[in-house]
């Protein structure tokens, strides 16, 4: 009778150990899955952030947009108003136009917004929106918009809508 009771206690102990072990195992698996999903999502977003930043940097250095000083040197963070107007007037849906800039701007929309009332306008520089629904990463960067004829410097915001697959 005494041995039977001892065995019952042992059995209860074993059951408790198994329950705790299973609980930790299930919790561990669930936690690992969620963490892994979160990490891969973060890594993917970081990768896309990097790609968008790279696109933005390339646009900032684009000779088709940059303004030149009187000595012929390229100015930092400065776009030529007339070069911008030329790109704005282009047909952005034309395949030749998209092909020309695709390596630099990929699938994105690039626009420039001025804050001055005289030329209060949004210029579209490039537009290549994917047919399939994508996520969008938006980045903004203030630049000068320089009018070389009237020698005016305007504050403008370069806006990049970068499309990516989640």
């Amino acid at each position: 009778m005494r041995t039977n009771k001892k065995a019952q206690i042992r059995l209860a102990e074993n059951i408790m150990v198994i329950i705790i072990f299973v609980f930790i195992l299930v919790f561990g698996i669930a936690f690992f899955t969620v963490y892994q999903k979160q990490t891969s999502g973060t890594k993917h977003k970081e990768r896309e952030e990097k790609a968008a930043s790279s696109v933005l940097a390339k646009i900032m250095a684009l000779p088709e947009l940059k303004c030149l000083s009187s000595t012929g040197q390229e100015e930092v963070n400065c776009f030529d108003l007339y070069k911008v107007k030329v790109l704005n007037a282009e047909n952005h849906t034309q395949p030749e136009f998209i092909d020309h800039f695709y390596d630099i701007m990929l699938e994105s929309k690039v626009s420039l917004e001025t804050l001055k009332s005289e030329i209060d306008e949004i210029f579209t520089i490039y537009e290549n929106e994917p047919v399939v629904k994508h996520d969008t990463l938006t980045k903004k960067m203030p630049v000068f918009l320089y009018d070389p004829i009237n020698e005016q410097k305007y504050y403008a915001i370069l806006k990049l809508d970068y499309y990516y697959v989640r």
Binding site: I20, T42, K140, P142, V143, I157
Partner: protein, 172 residues
Amino acid sequence: MSGGLKKKAQSEALGLAVVVILIIIGITLMIILGSGKKASKEQENYIEKLSSNTLYAMLNMDADECRVDSFQDVIKDCINQNNFVMCTTIDQTYTSCEYMDIVINQTLFKTIADQFDYYMEVSSIAMKKKYCNYETTLENCQDKKRPFKRKKFSLPAGYGYSDDILLKIYLP
């Protein structure tokens, strides 16, 4: 040791072990999930560049309405309390400080507000002005202490010791 006492000791040890395990799991969870919310290096670089470019472009843009070389001169006039500069738009005439408030608020709002909360200080020895987007009126911003711990960018607008003006943008 009697059988009953041994059993009690065992179950208490087991309970303690469960509590310890749960605490360890909780701490691990907090550490891992907490670290995930940190801004990535890429995001940090972007914020740094955004704030520096905003200040650089703002300081050097034209301010024709005020008949000065650049917006930098309007800031200097206001912060050093000279009151030499008057700015005339189509419908109204402003003092340098009124014009500065309008332009800085408009510029920061259009550039940063849809991405981050911002807080900006323009200061000299004589005066300090504050701009932020989480208060409904400009007056309320003046009483605010900066909410973000990290200073993001500052630039001396003056070239001499006498009129050195410091512009600082704080972002999350």
